[in-house]
């Protein structure tokens, strides 16, 4: 999902010539932090009974802190107005007043930075560099060492990745993963209509050629669906979503999607993908498919909403996309209720025998997280709250809720939800009032599996996911011998540097300009290449490669190599 926010971010930053002057509150704020730290020490050191009593009393005195979330929109309010927040308040005496971002992220953070006054706790999302540049967060190393043993234990595998270059930890990243659990949404996949598969007796689809062969045969048999022309293959090329057209190329070659480069697993060297043989092979295949009349030409100029509208008609037999990008269309089709017109995705490759790498290797995103600001009145209480919430029993409480109310435990110790509980958990009002909405993410937390083997989140627990399947879902899963849809993928290989695309780039830097220029070039060239008559393809491809090599490819690869090396060395990029 970071991919989304990174791109949306680029769309949102429309505020030219923002003139910001920072007033330096730093010395003052630092003094305040120091003072509170010292106070904390004094309390700890106090061995006389009355002193520790008063410290105890102070520690449980009700207090409200402010929390600003720049990552998602949501309902503002107090955590103690929710069931979960109330339970945590009973344990710690701490309440958070939650505020979400309204409007433009850069503007909002810019105003905060300019005034030097922050909420106590901030989730800056992609505005993290702005906050770090302004030194808005306090270092957490000592606080965690002293007051947060549980937090330290949970994040232990990732500890060396958390500090910034100066050695200080300013933000606590989310989701310290333990054990691998695939996502509920299918990540990238070549989707195909279930009706097509049913028609031909659920054949195994492994290669791109097999896939287009099925589509071709089905379209010949059924030239019309729902009163309109059958569309063989649909592309998505609108604006920043253009990567949907180019990303499949490395995937088809058995590589994961790292953005503009792929990284050799042995030499750890990065190479730009734009002019590689696998890119040519992919675009040429689309060209061939177009000449056979299987490609929807219009999809090369269509907008996203048209794309969704077309998918929703049920006339489209196949497309490549990511699960999160097609949610509205899938919902429409599910509502229409014709199972043959719904989709299943496969991780295709060019050649039989290539191992697919569509699933993201487990990563730990260190450039998103939660931080305590220089304006925080009592960082110790905040870190203690964090420490308390990451205890395993509290994590189960925050993600699964209360046993008997929002989930059940089977005889084998497996967690599951009844149909009523699943229905209840799908209601936004319930999520809000119970507190799931506030605690579902954007706090220090774990992910993956609990020590007892249950999934961290209900929507990743097979017992829960299976409950939500329709009869049609079950039929096709059975036909292919799958338990859940994400079973079609091969498990990901470890790549410690993965993915290069998530690395921060400086404003107006050469690598940023390269990416923009490259996208501009491909947006012009690829649709033309796809629509060209097949005998002209090679000449046009050479032209494109020449133009591509005129861009600053070498310096971009150098930058990518730097990212890979730094990440292998455990540095943050």
């Amino acid at each position: 999902m970071f991919f989304v926010s990174a791109f949306i971010q680029r769309e949102k930053g429309i505020c030219p010539a923002m003139k910001i002057r920072t007033r330096s509150y730093m010395p003052f704020a630092m003094a305040l932090v120091l003072a509170s730290l010292l106070a904390g020490c004094a309390k700890d050191g106090g061995d006389s009974a009355p002193a520790s009593d008063s410290a105890q009393a102070e520690a449980s005195k009700p207090v409200t802190f402010t929390y600003f979330n720049a990552a998602v929109a949501g309902k503002d309010g107090n955590t103690n107005e929710t069931v979960l927040g109330k339970l945590l308040e009973e344990q710690t005496g701490v309440n958070f007043k939650i505020e979400h971002l309204v409007g433009d992220l850069n503007t909002k953070l810019g105003v905060m930075v300019a005034s030097g006054e922050y909420p106590d706790v901030v989730v800056p999302d992609s505005g993290i560099d702005k906050m770090l540049d302004a030194k808005a967060f306090i270092p957490l190393n000592d606080l965690i060492d002293r007051y947060a043993p549980n937090l330290k234990k949970l994040y232990a595998p990732y500890w060396d990745q958390m500090p910034s270059e100066d050695g200080n930890i300013y933000i606590i990243p989310f989701a310290a993963s333990h054990g691998f659990v695939p996502d509920m949404y299918q990540p990238g996949a070549f989707y195909i209509q279930r009706g097509v598969l049913k028609e031909f007796g659920y054949p195994k689809v492994k290669t791109l050629d097999e896939y287009f062969d099925l589509i071709k045969r089905y379209k010949e048999k059924h030239p019309q669906i729902n009163g309109g022309d059958t569309i063989g293959f649909e592309t998505l090329t609108d604006d920043w979503r253009f990567f949907t057209l180019t990303n499949p190329a490395p995937n088809l070659n058995g590589l994961p999607n790292e953005g503009e480069v792929y990284v050799d697993k042995d030499t750890h060297l990065a190479y730009a993908t734009g002019d590689k043989p696998f890119m040519k092979r992919w675009i040429r295949k689309l060209n061939e498919v177009n000449s056979q009349g299987l490609l929807d030409k219009e999809s090369l100029v269509a907008k996203y909403d048209q794309y969704i509208a077309k998918l929703s008609t049920g006339r489209v037999l196949g497309f490549f996309d990511y699960g999160w990008q097609i949610i509205p269309a899938m919902q429409n089709l599910a509502q229409a209720g014709n199972d043959d017109r719904q989709f299943i995705g496969f991780p295709l490759v060019f050649d039989q025998g290539t191992k697919d790498q569509y699933l993201d290797p487990p990563t730990f995103a260190t450039n998103r997280g939660i931080g305590i600001t220089t304006s925080a009145k009592d960082p110790v209480r905040i870190i203690q709250y964090f420490d308390n919430m990451v205890k395993e029993e509290n994590q189960k409480l925050l993600f699964w809720g209360e046993k008997g109310k929002t989930y059940e435990v089977g005889e084998n110790g497996r967690f599951f939800r009844t149909e009523a509980q699943i229905k209840q958990a799908a209601s936004p009002e319930f999520l809000q009032s119970y507190g799931f909405a506030y605690y579902s993410y954007y706090w220090p937390m774990g992910a993956g599996l609990y020590e007892d083997g249950n999934a961290y989140f209900p929507d990743r627990q097979p017992e829960v996911v299976e409950q939500s399947y329709t009869e049609g879902d079950k039929t096709i899963l059975e036909a292919y011998g799958l338990k859940v849809f994400t079973d079609v993928y091969s498990p990901p290989e470890t790549r410690k540097w993965y993915p290069v695309w998530s690395a921060n780039k400086q404003q107006g830097s050469p690598e940023q300009v390269f990416e923009q220029k490259k996208t501009d070039l491909q947006r012009k060239a690829f649709p033309r290449l796809i629509l060209a008559s097949p005998d002209q393809f090679d000449a046009m491809w050479d032209e494109y490669v020449a133009a591509f090599n005129k861009l600053n490819v070498k310096s971009y690869e150098n930058w990518a190599n730097g990212v890979v090396q730094d990440r292998l060395d455990g540095k943050k990029r």
């Binding site: 930053g13 010539a17 910001i20 850069n106 090329t237 048209q306 947006r523 690829f526």
Partner: protein, 306 residues
């Protein structure tokens, strides 16, 4: 003596002067004071630092702007689309205003006016979606459907995939959207023409056509010239939304204008300095054009701005 009368005149109009003070202040505070922000065009500006602590880079951003290959393409597109919009906008609005003025039925006139300026209030996001659908090759495409029925084409044309159609599509869309709105000012100007002139022309035997040509049009001339001068100053503003929303990779060579270029390489990248440099460039050209047009108008003895 002259001096005294000038002061006397000022004293006499002191109420008016007093009333204009807030607006002059507003102008200074919001239009002139921010100009010092232009300084960041010569810096490598990063938010969070004081303006004077920023790194100075001289004319680097201007160099990037003028040396980029696509800059000239972008300028060509900007000017072409502006001129198309200007000519089409003027011609159609004046024609419609005169035609409406000749109508007898007030009801019909009002209806036409209302219908023609309704599209002005539709956001470009919605409007472009309507246009894209109308031009679609799929079942919803009314344009292709019509042309196929009439027999002008054999198979549907992918209108938005051809660069050469783009300016035309944009020009027509702009006219459709803004025609009624642009007409309002001319209709207002026509009402200020002295009816006696029409009567005199009628007595002299002028027919309807001649009255339009020799009374209405010359009466509109001052308004037309002033609007032309003002619009010339905006020549580099060829719009942003329609190009952004209707354009795509295949038509980029024709659809990309200066605003889109600045959005992509300046603001979207957080490169505020570059965006400011491009803004400065636009302002300077606009001022030159404005003064140039005003000067020519003065030379030709036409009404002018100042």
């Amino acid at each position: 003596m002259a001096r005294k009368t000038r002061w006397g005149k000022l004293l006499e109009q002191r109420t008016l002067l007093l009333m204009s003070v807030p607006f002059v202040l507003w102008l200074i505070v919001f239009r002139y004071v921010p100009l010092w922000g232009w300084l960041i065009a010569f810096q490598h500006y990063r938010p969070g630092k004081r303006l004077l602590q920023q790194e100075w880079v001289g004319f680097d951003h201007f160099k990037f702007l003028f040396q980029d290959e696509s800059f000239y393409l972008v300028m060509r597109n900007t000017l072409a689309m502006s001129l198309i919009n200007l000519t089409l906008g003027f011609a159609t609005a004046i024609m419609l205003a005169i035609m409406l003025n000749e109508l007898r039925s007030a009801f019909f006139k009002r209806t036409v006016q209302t219908i023609s300026y309704l599209p002005h209030f539709i956001s470009w996001v919605v409007a472009s979606s309507m246009i894209v659908n109308a031009l679609s090759t799929d079942t919803s495409g009314i344009v292709n459907g019509l042309l196929l029925k009439v027999g002008l084409i054999r198979e549907p044309i992918l209108w938005l995939a051809e660069g050469k159609y783009f300016w035309g599509i944009l020009g027509i869309s702009e006219v459709w959207k803004n025609l009624g709105w642009n007409t309002i000012i001319y209709l207002a100007a026509i009402t200020t023409i002295d009816p006696a002139q029409y009567e005199a022309a009628e007595i002299d035997g002028a027919n309807r056509w001649q009255r339009m040509l020799y009374v209405t049009l010359p009466g509109l001339k001052p308004v037309i010239v002033i609007l032309l001068i003002l619009n010339l100053g905006n020549l580099l503003e060829s719009g942003f939304e329609p190009q952004y929303l209707l354009g795509n990779g295949l038509t980029a060579d024709y659809s990309e204008n200066l605003d889109l270029f600045v959005l992509k390489y300046g603001i979207a990248m957080g490169n505020f300095s570059f965006a400011t440099a491009a803004g400065m460039f636009k302002t300077v050209i606009s001022v030159v054009l404005l003064f140039g047009a005003n000067h020519i108008a003065r030379k030709l003895g036409q009404p002018r701005l100042f």
